[in-house]
């Protein structure tokens, strides 16, 4: 069978044991890969003791590639991580590109399951069959760039091929709740704070070198598909735009529609937006292109600020989300300061969305008198004060002073500040909303609300479909021309979740680079690589099961119907701009969505629905009384 390396690594940090277990191919076919496999393993590991703290040794961490990772096609370099989130307390996952996943496959592993916690800093060394935990005390305290450079150099002589490093920075070590994991200095598994999970486990980094090859089940068919897709890509304006300007291309398009949150979601239009846009980036900070493994789209850009207060050495540049989080959200039109804040986040290992959004929240509090310079270590946290924004990002990374308050995330910071600070929050389930405004596309409001990991535009494909970047003619719900407003969005969400779980969570296509693919092409690629014979109907069913699994896990950790609502900030209509007067009708959409998904009034998937999907383990955990009753009747 192609696509899979065929093995999983199990690493117990408590006793230092490393085991290699073969990947069961029937299990792989049933769950495809990525979070499909990751969530199943996670559930198996926690089902006997489902209540635990995210920053305890009891929290498993799972890194999974998909069958396409490393297959050499465009937009297939991605892989995923999952665990309980220390930021939200609910289900946490993140999806990332770069080179680490493909290298892991070439070393012979589809994923790594990490349990327990080490007593002192360790790193995991993988060189093909040689796998061991090593002392990482000398790297502890180093930033992401220094750790990446040091491990790459220190382990090169012991490796068959040059290695890839996945590491946390000082933020992860200090358990900043939105710390992330970074490969190659700029490819971040950003959201939900899983870098802090590593910090709590004292796992500093994983180094992987691999000399193997990935088998492709049907190479000739894959070659033909590559040829077909070459024309599709050449014809795609979406691909051209991200190739030329990277994801910040959205600043030019998103502002027209009102998709970009400005001033902590209080505006949707701004005279100074062009200072942050692609033209300004090209003029002031652009320093060349980068790419993920084998991807010719090459949407990643480098940045450099040669002089001035925000001098930044050449390195991975800010993505759209980062430009918006530190730029528009903070009313900061200085793109050089955004480049600097981005570099700080990359070095310390911080999620730029949560970091920028949390600083914007703090500015809002400061401007309204809830905070003074006494609390903020002397920093004037004012709209557009780029120096203060950059300084606060660094304080968060260091977990020091007022930065240590914000390092717990905006929800905890609001509790600390009090005085009604929660009115400025932009979180759903404790996760700061990404930089896309549901007042523009109402279906995205529902997507934010019901996303298992909290406010997220990538938890399904609603953003891509409703926003227009993806068009899937084989699925009527993903091809309809919906009228403006909230009607029809529940149905859209359900289909986008099912297809999205298959597309970007299990097979792990990149939502950006693979946007031009229709469903026929996506399923064909999966079949050509694996040799399986999936149908669209089958992958939709798998996607549906994975969605319920993630939803159920977040329910298991305490999320209920009240947590599916949007914060007041996102539900406040704006007086001007492209989205003037528009807010999603959450009650209408949620009611329809709950009915379609078979969720009860509490927001839990009904027991019968879970059992029908083959999720009996999850049903037993969510409905322990029912399980007990069943056991009792058996005994009788």
């Amino acid at each position: 069978m192609g696509g899979y390396a065929g093995n999983l690594l199990y690493v117990d940090l408590t006793n230092g044991q490393v085991q290699v277990k073969p990947l069961d191919m029937a299990f792989a076919r049933e769950n495809i890969g990525g979070l499909g496999i990751g969530t199943r393993i996670f559930l198996d590991l926690i089902k006997d003791k489902p209540q635990f703290e995210a920053l305890s040794a009891d929290n498993p961490f799972i890194l999974m590639t998909g069958p396409l990772t490393g297959c050499g096609m465009d937009a297939t370099a991605r892989w995923s991580v999952c665990s309980k989130s220390p930021l939200t307390g609910y289900w946490g996952d993140a999806n990332v590109g770069g080179h680490f996943g493909s290298r892991l496959k070439l070393a012979g592993y589809d994923g790594i399951v990490i349990t327990g916690a080490a007593e002192k800093p360790v790193c995991l060394f993988i060189n093909d069959q040689e796998v061991e935990l090593r002392d990482a005390s000398e790297y502890w305290g180093k930033d992401v760039y220094a750790t990446t450079d040091a491990l790459t150099k220190d382990f090169r002589d012991q490796s068959s091929k040059p290695g890839q490093v996945l590491t946390i920075g000082p933020a992860g070590e200090k358990q900043v709740r939105f710390a992330n994991l970074i490969n190659k200095k700029g490819h971040a598994a950003g959201r939900t704070g899983l870098g802090a999970v590593w910090g709590a486990k004292k796992l500093k980094a994983i180094y992987v070198a691999g000399s193997g090859e990935l088998d492709i089940a049907q190479p000739e068919k894959l070659k033909a598909l590559r040829k077909e897709l070459k024309e599709v890509y050449a014809d795609s304006i979406y691909i051209s735009s991200i190739q030329s300007a990277g994801t910040p291309a959205h600043l030019d398009v998103g502002i027209i529609a009102g998709d970009i949150p400005i001033k902590n979601w209080q505006m949707s239009d701004w005279d100074e937006i062009d200072e942050l846009g692609p033209a300004s980036i090209e003029e002031k900070i652009h320093a060349g292109d980068r790419t993920c493994y084998a991807c010719t789209v090459a949407c990643k850009k480098n940045a450099e600020v040669k002089e001035g207060p925000f001098k930044t050495p050449k390195g991975p540049g800010p993505e759209y989300e980062t430009v918006a989080a530190f730029g528009t959200m903070c009313l900061n039109s200085d793109i050089e300061s955004v480049a600097k804040a981005n570099e700080i986040c990359n070095r310390y290992g911080l999620d730029t969305i949560s970091c920028g959004a949390t600083i914007a929240f703090a500015i809002d509090c400061f401007e309204d008198g809830l905070l003074t310079t006494q609390e903020t270590d002397g920093l004037e946290l004012r709209w557009g004060n780029s120096a203060a924004i950059v300084a606060m990002a660094e304080k968060i990374g260091k977990n020091e002073g007022f930065g240590a308050i914000l390092a717990k995330g905006s929800v905890k910071a609001a509790e600390h500040i009090g005085k009604g600070a929660d009115q400025y929050l932009t979180t759903v389930k404790g996760l700061e909303s990404p930089m896309h405004d549901p007042r523009n596309t109402h279906g995205l409001g529902l997507a934010f609300g019901v996303s298992p990991r909290g406010a997220c535009h990538e938890a399904s494909l609603v953003y891509e479909v409703e926003g227009g970047a993806m068009y899937i003619p084989e699925l009527p719900e993903l091809a309809e021309d919906l009228p403006e407003g909230s009607r029809g969005r529940a149905r859209l969400n359900v289909a986008c979740q099912d297809y999205g779980m298959f597309f970007s969570h299990c097979a792990i296509f990149c939502n950006l680079g693979a946007a031009p693919l229709n469903a026929t092409q996506a399923v064909a690629m999966l079949n050509h690589v694996t040799g399986f014979d999936y149908t669209l109907d089958e992958v939709m069913k798998i996607g549906r099961r994975i969605w319920y699994l993630k939803r159920g896990l977040t329910n298991l950790f305490g999320a209920r119907a009240k947590d599916d609502r949007l914060p007041a900030r996102l539900m406040t209509p704006l007086n001007e701009g492209p989205t003037q007067g528009s807010v999603p009708d959450m009650e209408l959409m949620l009611k329809a969505f709950y009915k379609l998904r078979g969720l009860d009034e509490d927001g839990l998937p009904q027991e019968a629905v879970l059992r029908e999907l083959g999720l009996a383990d999850l049903a037993d955990l969510l409905y322990p009384e029912a399980e007990q009753t069943a056991l009792s009747s058996k005994e009788v």
Partner: protein, 137 residues
């Protein structure tokens, strides 16, 4: 049924609006800086319009099918009408090929910030020039 009853009416409306953009420095200065020659190819009703920014002033030439244009934008007249109201999801229109662009895409996209003020101008232009029946605002 299309918004504009005839080719003549659509030509009057769209050419008049392009000329207004050419007379508005806030928009025209940035378009002129691009030095681009763009041909808009409309259907239903059919019309070709060249917007030439290569000279000293913006030149709008209806029915010009001969000039070599760097960029060609094809769309239905109704889509163009909605676009100037800012009511077209540009990403979706391009993905679903309701708008087809040919030419150097990065250069085309760079024009978006330049034309942003025109969305507010279009409904006003329709009202002030006797075309208020087409104003969907």
């Amino acid at each position: 049924m299309s918004v504009f009853e005839s080719r003549e009416i659509f030509k009057e409306v769209i050419v008049g609006f392009f000329n207004l953009l050419g007379d508005t420095p806030l928009v025209a200065d940035k378009l002129m800086a691009s030095k681009m020659v763009i041909r808009f190819i409309y259907s239903d009703p059919d019309l070709a319009v060249v917007v030439d920014c290569s000279g000293d002033a913006m030149d709008v030439r209806p029915d010009d099918t001969d000039t070599k244009a760097l960029v060609e934008m094809s769309m239905k007249a109704d889509i163009a009408h909605k676009f100037w109201f800012g009511k077209v999801n540009l990403t979706m229109a391009l993905t679903r090929r309701q708008m087809v662009a040919k030419g150097p895409i990065p250069k085309i996209l760079k024009l978006l910030p330049a034309i942003k003020p025109s969305y507010a101008m279009y409904p006003k232009y329709l009202d002030e020039n006797g075309y208020s029946q087409y104003n969907i605002h």
